[in-house]
Amino acid sequence: MFALRKIPIWLALALLLMLVVACAAPTAAPTSAPPTAAPAPTKAPEATKPPATTAPQPAATKPPEATKPPAPTTAAKPAAPVATAASRANLKGELVMNTWRDIGADPKHPNYTLYLLFQEWQKNHPGVTIKYQPMLGTVVEIFGYITTNLRSKTLADGVMQVFPSPAQLDPDLQYDFSADLAKQNPYSANKTWKEDFPLSAVALNDVTVKDKVLMVGTTYVGDLGDTAILYNQEWLDKAGIKTLPKTWAEFYDAMAKLKTAGAQPWYMPMAGNEAYIFTWYVNILADQLYDDAIKECDGAAGDKKDNRISQMEISWCIKKAKLSSKHLGTTKLFEEMKKWSAYWHEGYQAPPPAGDPFIQGKVAFRSIVRINMPFVENDPNVKFKWGSFYLPPLQGQARRVGNAGAGSGSQYMFIPKTTQDKGKLDLALDLLQYVTAPKSIEYWCTLQTVPCYQPGSGIEKVFPGNAVMQERYRGFIEPPAVDNRVRGLDINNTYGQASTTNETKIFQDYLSGAMTLDQALTAYQRLLDQLADTAIRQHPEWNADKW
């Protein structure tokens, strides 16, 4: 019997060996194996294109930019700077780029300029083809895609995204640009590549980890915000609101009047693909409520004091109970949200309704991200007058979310280290240097809906004599946003978008009455502890036990 048992174990070991061999084979050529695993990238994602663009637009509200023909080849538009670098003349091969949604789909979208630049670069490098792999999905899903594929080593050769998340930065897996930044960019006359980045390379601050620069971005010259609040003028008129709210009290007053007038005052989806809107307002309010804690935690544990809270700083902050459920700001944050929620749209906890309630004229105020403005601007069914403003401060100073003042509306790009292993680093780096060269940024600026401008100029100087555009973009430009962004003592900014889902759910339970304030605060503390502990576990180099 003994021998009978022993044989299958030997057999099993042999099988295991073969298994290893069998599994090693597909890793050698993971992308080439299934014949149809690589569909043409331009085909499927075209669905992102709003079909409404075929319908005629009402002439009265048409912004001047929209009259331009969308085709990139027309003579009316400036030509993209020629992309040839003497130092790297003979680039060859295929460069696969992950992009934030399909950047080539909609000529009216701000990201389309980047697509034009990519195309121009490819044209000037006959040996190179760019293959686009759009990343689709909700914001959480896209960040999830980047993180897991970075670890799985299945990202494309270069990755373009609309804004970076501190949680995704990983010096072990991402290429460090710092050496290249100290050298000259072949597409530029500046002494170093770093000098090419406008506003003293403010765009690079967020993506630098321990002196390693893990991403580069095309900086938008200006202090344009990422988000603002759209208002429906018809509802304001009906509710008898003469001026847009400037203070929190006025804001509440306006929402009360709108509700009486029959509008749903504020669109605040807490589920579905725009759930990030809620988290952004948590960011904005938290920044005002935690002012003292932010001052204490910024620069803690040996990190730089830079008005930005890093993941290490917030973890320190939680461990030292500077940020906790006991902080008065936390209580205020929950209570304020509850008061506010009385004015939110019907069913803010349910999956979002079909279509956009602002465009349908149901809600009076709607938060919007600037890169999504074309969807409202180009919708033929928006017949009412509308514009934008920014959320008044609850207390202190209202700061902006996103990358305001740090290359807002720009795109960030990084190179996974796997690209280096594939021998395509030169290719990817050349593209990134071309895109971030001064001439390219100039070109970029001329094609944006909001032209580049001197930070702090004010809306009248950005759109002189164009009342429609002034109204539409006022909320993104006023109040000025230079160095005026949320400092990030919150889950969303430090632990990443995915962790925010759990935060939102605690708020949901509190707002719906399923939890008392005490229960919600307990759950919140549990979440904070969990996130800090996990982060500390992921970063032994922080030496958290010595804090």
Binding site: L4, V140, A354
Partner: protein, 317 residues
């Protein structure tokens, strides 16, 4: 198990100790082709069943995010049992399980019994098709349609308003009181599909003579159904109950697509979804493995109980 043996190699005689190894080697050598034929199955089984199973159980004791594996003992389990959300998730699952068991024993059986009692012919075939056909619609699509159905301006509220029952409208998936029941209600009236098919096949295989005999005795249709037909399809019903149990123990597609576990932290959360979210959102594979392992133990326990019961029933018979 080995009733029909067609042996190319002769069965190996039970040899005494020293000869045994030699006979075995000889047996393996002579039957090498057989081993080659079953080899692929075993390779795949090891790679996608045995290894993951062992790995899952091992890693449930670690912090694991692909980049690093840190042994943390029972911390994941402790976290799971301390977390009120996890308890709520198990409670939700229990609610779903019990409801689905009630469902599987009622409406599909009703539908099948009605169709089975039609006179054979085109009408019966037509009804059968009518209730079998929806099986082809992917469950995900069904869930998706129902999500819209439950929306604020969705089908259910529209129907209610049209019927003058506007007061009964809800944001079905956005309210704590209704979300879980809305998910259970998906697919109402739950007649069509696999369960119906199996009940119908069972009912139609009952010999007509049995029922005729009862009819002669003057038993009413209801008595015939409960006293003759129902006991005869008990086995199929047991199978369906077990299948339902196992399916809903691990299924989380509906909460995932409809509500992502909401509203709130645990509105419609089930352990499977908690595991999925730990993996997809947080890349916390260790915690996900711990939840998976607990689910595994529970499923295995239920399966063993089921085996014991069916074995006892067999020995009784």
């Amino acid at each position: 198990m080995m009733s029909q043996e067609l042996t190319i190699a002769k069965p190996i005689p039970r040899a005494k100790s020293s000869q045994r190894v030699a006979t075995l080697v000889e047996g393996v050598r002579r039957n090498w082709l057989l081993y080659v034929l079953i080899l692929p199955t075993f390779l795949f089984s090891i790679a996608f069943y045995y290894y993951p199973m062992a790995s899952g159980i091992y890693h449930s004791f670690t912090y694991w995010d692909i980049k690093r594996t840190i042994w943390i003992g029972f911390e994941n389990y402790q976290r799971m049992f301390d977390d009120p959300v996890a308890l709520a998730a198990w409670r939700n699952m229990l609610t779903i399980l019990v409801s689905q068991l009630v469902i599987v024993m009622t409406t599909p059986l009703l539908g099948a019994a009605l169709v089975a009692h039609l006179r054979p012919g085109l009408a019966q075939y037509g009804w059968r098709m009518m209730f079998v056909m929806p099986i082809v619609v992917p469950a995900t699509v069904v869930v998706f349609v129902w999500r819209w159905f439950y929306g604020g301006d969705g089908g259910l509220n529209t129907i209610l308003r049209a019927l003058g029952l506007g007061a009964l409208t809800h944001l079905w998936l956005g309210e704590n009181a209704t979300a879980l029941w809305a998910i259970i209600g998906t697919g109402f009236p739950w007649v069509a599909g696999l369960n119906f098919l199996i009940y119908l096949a069972a009912l139609q295989s009952i010999p007509e003579e049995l029922l005729d005999a009862a009819r002669v005795d003057g038993a009413s249709a209801f008595r015939r159904f409960f006293q003759i037909e129902l006991p005869l399809i008990r086995n199929q019903m047991m199978v369906l109950i077990v299948l339902t149990f196992i399916f809903y123990l691990r299924s989380f597609d509906a909460p995932l697509i409809m509500t992502n576990g909401g509203p709130g932290m645990a509105g419609t959360l089930v352990p499977g979804l908690q595991m999925y979210r730990a993996v997809r959102d947080d890349l916390d594979l260790g915690y996900g493995s711990a939840i998976g392992t607990v689910l595994f133990v529970v499923t295995l326990g239920l399966m063993l109980i089921n085996q014991l019961i069916s074995r006892r029933q067999k020995s009784d018979a």
